[in-house]
């Protein structure tokens, strides 16, 4: 029982991280139909920026978080302009391989600059633990930070997407880019904004993970990147609430599997759940089915 509660607490944090990364995946897919494999690496770079800011400039958690989000959002826009814009009209396979090449470039380019070894993230969050209901299960203050930051960011995102002009343009472009263009919406700018927002969320996730687990390395983005992507697909890729749902769903599933002694297989379970969901609902839990017109 205590084990279970503990794992649920961990599940919330893990789910938050997945959800934040998954949001970026989903937004980018929604707008340009591209599986942006480099997204997990933006998260990694976000963590490194956070690391540099806190270690060398001795910034606190929040300034580091915000600066890191700013820088990753710029990185996201640059990647879109340099790498994805030239292939926007090409085929799915070419686009996918391009995304993978960007991912490799970021991973190994970063490795060249910061060296492959794991770095220790400074303790920027208060290290305090609270016992839950007088059991041995503990709630780390960090868990609360993660949850609060995640929820705040999601609320802001919700506001941006549904209430602002830019957000509405993003939705319009992802629903029907041709029609959006006819309304005078500048598609290139809108896509840039989408990358910026998605990348900022990934950057935030990077800083959160760095300060939670205290260790970062240049390949740290690969597995969470894939998992967040799985989460986005489970929720219904291109659907924003789907990414959040998928992220938490995957976070809980993984921690529960670990709780019942299957930690070695937890990654396999994530993928098995993915395949299962796709078989039952081919467009994800909240995705809409669109039939090809004959």
């Amino acid at each position: 029982m205590e084990q279970l509660i503990q794992q649920l607490v961990n599940g919330v944090s893990l789910g938050s991280i997945y959800a934040l990364i998954a949001l970026g995946y989903t937004m980018v897919y929604g707008i340009i139909n591209l599986i942006n494999f480099a997204h997990g690496d933006i998260y990694m770079i976000g963590a490194y920026i956070g690391f540099a800011l806190t270690t060398f400039l001795h910034l606190g958690f929040f300034p580091a978080l915000i600066l890191s989000m700013l820088l990753t959002s710029m990185l996201g826009m640059v990647i879109e302009k340099v790498a994805y814009k030239p292939i926007r009209k090409s085929t799915r396979i070419a686009a996918l391989i391009t995304a993978i090449s960007v991912s490799l470039f970021l991973e190994y380019g970063m490795m060249y600059f910061v060296k492959p070894e794991t770095r220790t993230f400074p303790e920027v969050l208060p290290n305090k633990q609270i016992s839950i209901f007088n059991t041995s299960a503990v709630l780390d203050i960090k868990n609360i930070y993660i949850l609060v930051v995640t929820i705040t960011l999601m609320l802001i995102l919700q506001y941006v997407i549904y209430k602002t002009k830019v957000g509405k343009a993003m939705r319009a472009v992802s629903l029907d880019s041709d029609a959006a263009q006819l309304m005078g919406i500048d598609i290139n700018k809108t896509i840039s904004y989408t990358f910026a927002i998605g990348s900022a969320l990934a950057g935030a996730a990077g800083v959160l993970v760095g300060s939670y687990y205290n260790s970062i390395n240049p390949l740290m983005g690969v597995v969470p990147g894939l998992k967040a992507f799985v989460a986005a697909v489970i929720g219904g890729i291109g659907v924003i609430p789907g990414a959040v749902l998928g992220g938490f769903f995957l976070g809980f599933t993984e921690t529960l599997v670990s709780a019942f002694g299957g930690s070695l297989y937890k990654d396999a379970v994530a993928f098995a759940v993915l395949i299962l969901v796709l078989l039952i609902k081919p467009k994800g839990l909240l995705g809409r089915n669109i039939r090809e017109k004959v």
């Binding site: 090449s101 290139n188 078989l279």
Partner: protein
């Protein structure tokens, strides 16, 4: 329609001659073991690329899990030859059959999915296979399977490559192969002409996996040692890159692509720190400047413009 004519007679002679000359050079030591190792890698990559081309290039089914079938083949042959001491031909055949069975098992449910979704499901399948490998003690878990006898000789390699290329080329020219190509071109029209698309997709998947299994066996029985990580997501991507680089739905392209990309990665070994960075840049340049591949035929279904975005019409 004749089996033997002038053209394939010449081809036949060329195949025999290449085999004899290379065999002679290896025997006499003109081709040293380092060069031979690279020849083995090229051969294996040809089999993998041609077999994936059947699935992705011809039949239009986007797979990101081809390395998983290779790994099933590698472990099967490894177990059969190392643990059970059986001869190599049993290892190869077992590897191919088991990989084919895996192809059917994963094919039947997932082939209902299309495009990116299928790609993701096959990626997931590949990861599952890898994780199971990592956690199975009988085959060495994460440390891998050791002491596999080195049976892969020039003869075996050459034979397997030729058989793979020949059989898949033949298949493509049969009515079953035509049905597969028609699915890749237009699934709805193919169905309307009486093609049972599910059956042919599974068939292509199974055949492709069969040959990937053979590639796995050759790999295991050349390198003594295999571990699950060698057959991960990146390996699947490497194979896909060869297919796209060579040209979708072109067998010649896959062969050429396998040779060229193997050579590129050979040269990149000279700059170990920046190897992957340069590789990434090369990939990117290929995708931007030659997305149809070396021998590209034109717009295939997976080569179709992506959904509804006409954005960069306006960018000059």
């Amino acid at each position: 329609m004749k089996l033997i004519n002038k053209k394939n007679m010449l081809g036949f002679l060329a195949v025999i001659l290449t085999y004899a000359i290379a065999g002679f050079l290896i025997d006499k030591g003109f081709i040293d073991s380092y060069i031979f190792l690279n020849i083995v890698l090229i051969g294996i990559n040809i089999i993998l690329a041609v077999s994936l081309n059947l699935i992705t290039g011809f039949t239009g089914q986007f797979s990101l899990g081809h390395a998983a079938f290779m790994s099933i083949g590698a472990y099967t042959s490894g177990i059969l030859t190392a643990k059970l001491g059986l001869p190599f031909w049993v290892g190869i055949l077992g590897a191919a059959l088991l990989a084919a069975v895996a192809g059917i098992i994963i094919g039947i449910p997932t082939l209902r999915l299309k495009g990116d979704y299928l790609a993701i499901a096959t990626l997931g399948f590949g990861e599952i296979v890898k994780i199971i490998g990592l956690n199975t003690d009988y085959i060495g878990g994460a440390t891998g399977l050791n002491d596999i006898p080195r049976y892969t000789t020039w003869t075996w390699l050459y034979f397997c490559v030729v058989v793979t290329v020949l059989l898949i080329s033949n298949f493509i020219k049969s009515y079953k192969g035509r049905a597969c190509i028609s699915i890749g071109e237009d699934e709805i029209a193919a169905e309307a002409m009486g093609v049972n698309t599910t059956y042919y997709k599974v068939l292509a998947f199974t055949l492709g996996s069969f040959f990937a299994g053979i590639a796995g066996a050759l790999y295991a029985n050349y390198f003594y040692f295999i571990k699950p990580d060698s057959f991960g997501f990146m390996k699947s991507i490497d194979i896909l890159v060869i297919v796209v680089f060579g040209g979708m739905a072109s067998i010649k392209g896959s062969i050429l692509g396998a040779v060229l990309l193997s050579l590129i990665s050979l040269f990149l070994q000279g700059i170990p720190e920046l190897r992957m960075v340069v590789y990434a840049v090369i990939l990117f340049l290929i995708m931007v400047y030659r997305p149809q591949g070396i021998i590209g035929k034109g717009e295939f279904k997976l080569f179709k413009k992506r959904g509804g975005l006409n954005a960069n019409n306006q960018s000059k």
